[in-house]
């Protein structure tokens, strides 16, 4: 029994040792920038918070996955059959089982804590947005309406309509759908939201860096889903206002008055031919 206790103590020490290492690693890493880990660092403030959470999850997954995989590979290589003797038939070890129940629960609670934290930041809606935009998704295109500014941008499929945002300012997006479920998604923003009939979704985007970002419908919405593209162009507030004035002067000339042309809308057996 004494030997057992000792080995259990060693085991605990090892577990806490690993925990300590993670904490040290965490402080070191939070001081510098976390790597992108294949994703985007987030062109918006909200997207950047998401990226930080994602990067931490990658680190956690590498640690947890690494330990689990090492144990698995060790078992496979170390306990390859060597003789015909029947191994000891042990079946239960309650302290061990409790250990690998409690540790995952702790990990889950930590992940949940940070998740809620970031989720509240990403979903937060400011009381005084700089600009309000109503985005309407339809089969198969996008409409970006700036109701206070009387500017309306409209485009179908490969026309790639452009939503212009002021960099560094908060834009309030109200997202709706004219027909089926669509997905508003910009990869550099690390964010997507459904545009659904019967649901009005509201969220904020605060772009950090000026630039043009490719967006696309992500929720399958019918025949031309793959070509339901749009762009988000973020410019300095000065450039934003000059764009607004230019649009107002042109007087909605860009607006296509009717919904996508009937040729696109019709779904018949003809659509089976090449397009």
């Amino acid at each position: 029994m004494g030997r057992n206790k000792l080995s259990r103590f060693k085991h605990l020490k090892r577990v806490f040792g690993a925990g300590g290492l993670i904490i040290i690693l965490a402080t070191v890493l939070s001081a510098c920038n976390l790597p992108a880990f294949g994703g985007y660092k987030g062109a918006t403030a909200q997207g950047h918070d998401t990226h930080m959470l994602y990067a931490w999850l990658v680190i956690a997954a590498i640690v947890v996955g690494g330990i689990t995989l090492s144990l698995l590979l060790w078992a496979i290589f170390r306990y390859r059959k060597k003789s015909d003797t029947i191994p000891k038939q042990f079946q239960y070890h309650i302290p061990l089982e409790i250990t690998y129940t409690v540790i995952p629960i702790i990990i889950v609670l930590i992940v949940f804590f940070f998740t809620v934290n970031v989720e509240n930041k990403v979903d937060a809606v400011s009381t005084h947005p700089y600009v309000k935009i109503k985005v309407t998704a339809f089969q198969w295109g996008w409409n970006f309406d700036y109701p206070q500014l009387h500017v309306d941008v409209h485009g179908v499929t490969l026309q790639n309509p452009e939503m212009v945002l002021p960099t560094g300012k908060t834009a309030r997006i109200t997202l709706v759908s004219a027909d089926v479920v669509h997905g508003f998604y910009v990869r550099q923003f690390n964010f997507s939201r459904y545009a659904q009939p019967g649901v009005v979704n509201v969220f904020d985007l605060t772009v950090r860096h000026s630039g043009t970002y490719q967006g696309q419908c992500t929720q399958f919405c019918g025949l031309y889903h793959a070509e339901m593209l749009f762009r988000v162009k973020s410019v300095s507030p000065t450039q934003f206002w000059s764009w607004v004035h230019q649009e107002q002067a042109e007087g909605h000339s860009k607006v296509v008055s009717q919904l996508p042309s009937p040729v696109v809308k019709v779904r018949s057996t003809n659509s089976r031919t090449k397009i």
Binding site: A61, D84, Q91, Y100, V108, V122, V180, R267
Partner: protein, 597 residues
Amino acid sequence: MTLLEEKQLIPTEETKHATTEHHEPSGLIKWLTSTDHKVIGKSYMFTALILMIIGGAMALIMRLQLTSQHSSLLSFQQYNELFTMHGSIMIYLFVGPFAFGGLANYVVPLQIGAPDMAFPRLNALSYWLYLGGSIIMLLGFFTASGAADFGWVAYAPLSSAVNSPGAGPDAWIAALVLTGFSAIFTGVNLVTTIFYLRAPGMTMFRMPIFVWNMLVTAILILMAFPVLTSALIMLYADRHFGMDIFSVKGGGVPVLWQNLFWFWGHPEVYILALPFFGVVTEIIPVFSKKPIFGYKGMVFATLAIAALSTGVWGHHMFTTGVVLLPFFSLLSLLIAVPTGIKFFNWIATMWRGQITFTTPMLMCIGFLITFLIGGLTGMFLASPPVDFQMHDTYFVVAHFHSVIFALVLAAVGALYYWWPKMFGWYLNDKIGKVQFWLLFIGVNATVVPWYILGLHGMPRRVAVYKVGMGWHALNIAATVGADITGLSFLVFLLNIYLSWDKKVPAPSNPWDGTTLEWFTSSPPPTHNFTRIPPIRSERPVWDFNHPDAIAISAHSQKAPLINGAPPGNGRATNGNAREATISGSANSGTTETVESD
């Protein structure tokens, strides 16, 4: 001993009469008319594998389309039909029916010492509904509108009569209603069989883990499938009788479809997974020569997964903006705990064992590694902000393909493992190992590029993608992986053919198996058992063959975990003297075990 001497295997007048009276049909008539769970189980597995080959071929065509950015191999319409049918076939018609219709049907009655399922004719009805449904779904391709093209999830209102007119979508709905009923009947059958037809001595906590998992799967089926089936009937009514349940115009709520669908859809994930967790839990101990580590923990983990799985459907809807994010997030994350318990139990089972790397064991190891990747990436998607980033991108596609490919590895392992029992001859182990490496490398070479594609923002369900997004090379890599996966199944078919040609005969217990199915002949007789060993633990056949190696608890090494006498006491090594015999006629379906002393 006197009891044993009384019950010899001498055919009495009564049994002789019964055997001459009972003519077993053979050939095609046998397959068409049988209510034997073994025949139905094999029919299920055969049908499911054919459908998997069809669905897999569709996947390969789609991969070919995506190899170049603006491929004109398929039109948008054809591509949309293909991914809808690929998903539908694989989820509704292959993985699930293969597991709870095929494997469970074949293995559960054998493992609990039962002569058949509780309701043999209902069982046959299940199979015929499933076959009928599958054919109807495929017939969608021959309708004027083409097959269903709204994705396997059929989100309203894209699936409405206006947005998706035609007979193809209707065929899809009808097919799923039929297979839904088939699943419900199978669920009823499995629950009843496991509760009422266990052999004497087979208490709940002496059931093999596979049986436990099938019981929990069946309960999940009974909770989830009626919801899907009724939602489909609502959808049909919307399409044809103007019910407007899912349309805004008529005062309906489109997002209700998503709620109903995923209320089935997430338990469905575990309806697919739990049977294969069971398979792995059967195979690993046998080839490690050890009992499953933490048997009771395993059972409670299964129950916990099932319980949690009914409360996590909202994680498919994080980006709808209409679900309570923290609730669904926490419950989804918590599923990692019981799943982790299972994973560590599998590793602990191999720990200090004597592992032999036969094909079934290799497939299980492939399952573990692939499933580990799928499980860890699931943690990302359970976190709403990260899900906002990943949702509907290839990251999600990669995540669930990791999980399902892991199940496929386990399914192929299960076939190699139970094949000698089902047919009386082995599949070639060397070709099996070739298949393992192709399959394991193929599936991971497919999903790893997908994870990166998802992080780079490639949306799912697109037939073409924009030049200059940086997705091209990764798509080529994924196609190569998919082709290797396809090749592995050609090797599998070749193996079946070559092994069938040779027919290396298998004994009743080729792997030193531990559960009851290895006690009867290979293949088993019509009513499964002519004799049954005493059942003192979840490993009755092991206890019978290795009376000196009874399971022990690791930290109190003396206490035997088997009720009754301590190990070795009164257990003669001469097996024949201790065999219990069946009383009465095999046709009556009653079996009786005799305690050894």
